[in-house]
């Protein structure tokens, strides 16, 4: 059976994660890479044993018709590159956010529909093993009715040497609504959306904790009302240590996880009987989770497993959908809903 083929446009840090995933998959061949820096393109090709490399995406598209184009460039270049790919009738797997402005996303969506092509945004954390376990608890009814979800990301973007506050070479996130926080809003938005469903109301607060930085804001909070439940979302560029916390509260259970740590859930169930005994049982269960998660995480690190849990699953599902001629793994309308939410969250940034 013929192998599926992919190409990457953009050979920076995130591209290396894609290439590492693809290098492990027998049925997929990466046949070319492209970067505006010829050396970076050639280095990626040499490192991953890829036959062809380009420094212009149009040259690549003129030579090759892959099954899927991975766009892993900075966000401001996504729109022109994705437009060229879709216009050529090629499926696109694009890093988040797909576009800097929502109107551009709409144009791409229209083009994808016209050309009958996939336009997939990388929403890898939907496929994170911990998130999938939470979803399973919701689906099975164990968690009860979902009342609230909290998605709280803390990342030290303000530290010395951080590329986010590099005053010599402004970070690509500075081109986004929401500044560099805008680079993280898609992750926050799609994780909240998974539980809330369509958003009906949004309230946000932006703040600048450190006055000396080039950023307009380094703290963000948001309250969302969705058709299924409410959500509290936040980003902190100052709170330490780093963490990506998801907490889902239901009528029977509260469950939380940290996506930056080895996959594990902390589960608190509503119990009848002696409260002290319940606390003991929960404590033992939690200790076991922490121990297993820590050992697993250490072994994963030694084993070179990507810290981007969920990326492999998402990429494989996309290729599989192409092979089986099935719908894309995340419906385009859902990607649209998330893009609209990101737009609403970012539109109230400090000015």
């Amino acid at each position: 059976m013929a192998k599926l083929t992919g190409v990457l446009i953009g050979c920076g840090a995130i591209a290396r994660e894609h290439l590492s995933v693809l290098a492990d998959v027998e049925k997929i061949d990466v046949i070319a890479v492209c970067d505006i820096s010829p050396a970076r393109a050639e280095a990626a090709a040499e490192r991953f044993g890829i036959a062809r490399f380009y420094s212009g995406h149009r040259s690549l598209l003129a030579d090759i018709r892959p099954d899927l184009v991975h766009i892993t460039t900075p966000p401001s270049s996504h729109f022109p590159i994705a437009t060229d790919c879709l216009a050529a009738g090629l499926n696109v797997f694009c890093e988040k956010p797909v576009t800097v402005r929502y109107e551009e996303f709409c144009a791409l969506k229209k083009l994808a529909r016209e050309k009958n092509c996939m336009l997939v945004e990388n929403q890898q954390n939907r496929f994170h093993s911990s998130v999938r376990r939470i979803q399973e608890l919701v689906r099975s009814g164990e968690l009860g009715d979902v009342l609230e979800v909290q998605v709280c990301l803390s990342l030290n973007i303000m530290g010395a040497g951080s590329p986010y506050v590099d005053q010599n070479a402004p970070h690509f996130g500075m081109t986004l609504s929401g500044g560099v926080i805008g680079d993280f809003l898609p992750h926050i938005a799609y994780l909240a959306y998974m539980f809330t469903g369509k958003i009906t109301d949004v309230h946000t607060g932006w703040a600048k904790f450190r006055s000396g930085s080039p950023l307009l804001a380094d703290e963000f909070r948001g309250m969302l009302k969705g058709e299924r439940c409410t959500a509290y979302v936040s980003f902190s560029g100052n709170a330490q240590p780093d963490g990506f916390l998801i907490r889902v509260a239901g009528t029977r259970m509260r469950v939380e996880t940290n996506l930056f740590e080895p996959p594990r859930l902390i589960v608190k169930r509503a119990r009848s009987g002696e409260p002290a005994l319940g606390t003991l049982i929960d404590g033992i269960a939690e200790s076991r989770q922490v121990l297993v998660g820590s050992v697993t995480g250490f072994l994963r690190k030694l084993g070179g497993t990507s810290s981007y849990d969920g990326l492999k699953e998402m990429i494989l599902k996309t290729y599989s959908a192409i092979e089986l001629r099935e719908p894309q793994p995340i419906p385009l309308d859902e990607i649209d809903e998330v893009a609209q939410l990101v737009d609403r969250l970012a539109s109230q940034e400090l000015s």
């Binding site: 970076r40 010599n168 030694l302 084993g303």
Partner: protein
């Protein structure tokens, strides 16, 4: 001679500018926009630019006789180092290609060699590293930077000199990788009698300027080291004494350290296949590149440029630790 120098605000760059001025050359210095202007005289023409993003650098080459390319990152993620070192070099040399300047001296590093193939002595004939991707971000970036420079020079028929310094050290930059690793109060010295390829920043700058001045350097590649007579034990002892650091030296024979790294690598391969990841100390090839007990030759630079280090090791120590008095620290292993 009017010299354009990239990375002029860095540790080596500042020493090179001082040396150029001392020898009567005029200097155009590229420094990053956000960094402070070093205490240079007004005669130094300062251009504020970040080579990664500067739109057009062509005018920086106007009226220039020779270019000294020092810009590179020495820390940061693999991607950050590649951008700051390799992509920045591509942009810088694209601008040079639009100018009439033909003389280029590029500062590379000994990390571009394949240390596993260095037998008893490392010199300019030692094979280059062809698979740098397991060697860490700095090695990847420096290998690729040299490839880019060599290709540009060949394509545009430039007069290229490649200089590969060893461990560049000096004031506030004396903690070199070859010295070992500190864990709490214990300093592990891997191969205490191993020779260090040291290049004091003042001597290194002097050699680079000598190479710019001397037409015989065109087309040559030099390793720049002061000599290889200083061994790990002595350097570490001087470092600890002069910085007043407290702790214990624990000498570990090189073969023992390498054996542990090889055992760790074998275990990793057995358990995880080729994707296993280990810290640099437990990666045999990276361990070798920091601690391999070989000799280091500077014969070629001595022959072609008739150069020798201006300052002895003892003079360099005085320059590098000018105000620190021995306060009795480390007495535990001095006695």
């Amino acid at each position: 001679m009017k010299v354009l120098i990239s990375g002029a605000g860095g540790f080596l760059g500042r020493a090179v500018v001082a040396c150029l001025l001392e020898r009567g050359h005029s200097v155009r210095a590229i420094v990053r926009p956000s960094s402070q202007r070093p205490p240079w005289p007004d005669t130094v023409d300062v251009i504020r630019a970040d080579l990664r993003v500067q739109e057009d650098l062509t005018s920086a080459f106007d009226g220039i006789d020779a270019v000294l390319h020092l810009a590179a990152a020495t820390s940061g993620s693999e991607d950050t180092q590649f951008s700051s070192t390799v992509v920045a070099t591509e942009r810088f040399l694209e601008a040079m290609a639009r100018s009439t300047v033909r003389r280029l001296l590029h500062v590379s590093s000994l990390v571009v060699y394949d240390w596993s193939k260095a037998e008893s002595c490392m010199d300019e004939e030692t094979p280059l590293e062809n698979n740098p991707y397991t060697m860490g971000g700095y090695a990847i970036a420096k290998v690729w930077q040299e490839r880019v420079v060599s290709r540009f020079a060949k394509e545009h028929s430039w007069d290229l000199t490649i200089a590969r310094p060893g461990f560049i050290w000096g004031h506030d930059h004396a903690d070199i990788a070859g010295m070992g690793r500190k864990f709490g109060r214990v300093y592990l010295l891997f191969g205490p009698l191993t020779r260090l390829p040291l290049s004091h920043v003042a001597n290194c700058a002097d050699c680079l300027v000598a190479a710019v001045e001397n037409p015989a350097a065109s087309g040559e590649t030099f390793n720049i080291i002061d000599g290889d007579d200083i061994r790990v034990w002595r350097y570490a002892r001087e470092y600890a004494r002069r910085t007043g650091q407290r702790g214990f030296f624990l000498p570990v024979p090189y073969r023992v350290g390498l054996g542990v790294a090889q055992l760790a690598a074998l275990t990793s391969r057995t358990l995880f296949g080729s994707k296993g990841k280990l810290p640099s100390l437990l990666t045999p090839r990276r361990f070798e590149s920091q601690f391999k007990p070989i000799r280091f030759s500077n014969r070629r630079v001595r022959q072609v440029l008739n150069w020798k280090p201006r300052k002895s090791f003892d003079e360099c120590l005085e320059l590098s630790f000018p105000h620190v008095q021995y306060d009795g620290a480390l007495r535990s292993f001095e006695s």
